[in-house]
């Protein structure tokens, strides 16, 4: 199975609230990566931060490539010291009742070293499910 990971989650929050949760540093640190040092939803913005997983330090490098304010955000996602070329795309989809659907697409996971279980599809998929369906959901409920 080589396709991207796609996860969709509905939130009771308004679309702009969800947009700010995925693009503002202070909010992202709360539900996503506390290690994050900086973030700007601007094409060309680049940031790096290290996350420890299972006792190993993984230096993340993000580079923003597409921004459609309030609607779409894409960043290139790679790890310093590891081969691999992946993209994370966020789509904000307003629903008729004023709530919001968030779609995440993570493509290119198969380009990371597949002999490392931390990079496996299962591990990534579990990580995203936690971020969207638990962590962000709880964060947005608290914010309401």
């Amino acid at each position: 199975m080589n396709g991207p990971i796609i996860i969709e989650q509905k939130f009771a929050s308004k679309p702009e609230t969800v947009w700010f949760a995925i693009t503002e540093l202070a909010k992202m640190k709360e539900w996503y990566f506390p290690e994050l040092k900086d973030f700007k939803p601007e094409v060309g913005f680049e940031t790096s931060f290290t996350v420890n997983a299972n006792g190993v330090d993984y230096p993340h490098i993000w580079k923003v490539t597409v921004v459609e304010p309030g609607k779409k955000l894409v960043y290139h996602w790679s790890y310093d010291g590891y081969p691999g070329d992946s993209f994370v795309m966020w789509d904000i989809i307003p629903l008729e009742d004023g709530s919001t659907k968030l779609r995440l697409v993570h493509s290119g996971i198969e380009t990371f070293p597949q002999d490392n279980p931390d990079f496996s599809r299962e591990s990534c998929s579990a990580g995203w499910t936690f971020f969207l369906c638990e962590s962000l959901k709880k964060y947005l409920e608290k914010e309401r």
Binding site: G3, P4, T65, V66, V74, H76, F87, M89, S107, G108
Partner: protein, 138 residues
């Protein structure tokens, strides 16, 4: 902010097929043309982040030709391609497949030589040519 123009087509083919025909040089040379007077005799395509493409476009009578070149910034398989043309203008192509059909939406930054209408018509003609070629080859 540059002025952007959008063209769109719904093609009766699954997105996997669309992706292959859109990106493989052996197919590109068959569909990449805005009219019967033009063709693309040569195409190179390195479809990955930072990769480059070059389509050689020529009038069929050989009177005029140019290279259409760019660099890929975002490649999300079956979903999204973003590249910048050699002159710096950005192009985004969204693919959305559903039930054997694929909607293609292409937005590009306008240049200043031709009118907006001419540019839209030219890009739409190429997209229509892709639709025709793909639907004949599914």
């Amino acid at each position: 902010m540059e002025k952007t123009i959008t063209v769109q087509a719904t093609v009766s083919a699954p997105v996997e097929k669309i992706w292959e025909l859109w990106n493989s040089p052996e197919h590109i040379i068959k569909w990449y043309a805005a009219s019967n007077e033009w063709h693309t005799p040569k195409a190179k395509n390195d479809l990955r982040t930072g990769g480059k493409f070059l389509y050689r476009m020529e009038a069929r009578d050989g009177s005029v030709g140019f290279d259409f070149e760019g660099t890929y910034e975002t490649v999300i398989k079956y979903v999204l391609i973003v590249y910048s043309i050699a002159d710096g203008r950005k192009v985004k192509i969204y693919f959305a497949g559903e039930g054997g059909e694929t909607n293609i939406v292409e937005t590009f930054e306008a240049e200043n030589t031709h009118t907006t209408e001419q540019q839209r018509a030219g890009w739409q003609a190429i997209l229509n040519n892709f639709k025709k070629y793909t639907e004949e080859n599914v």
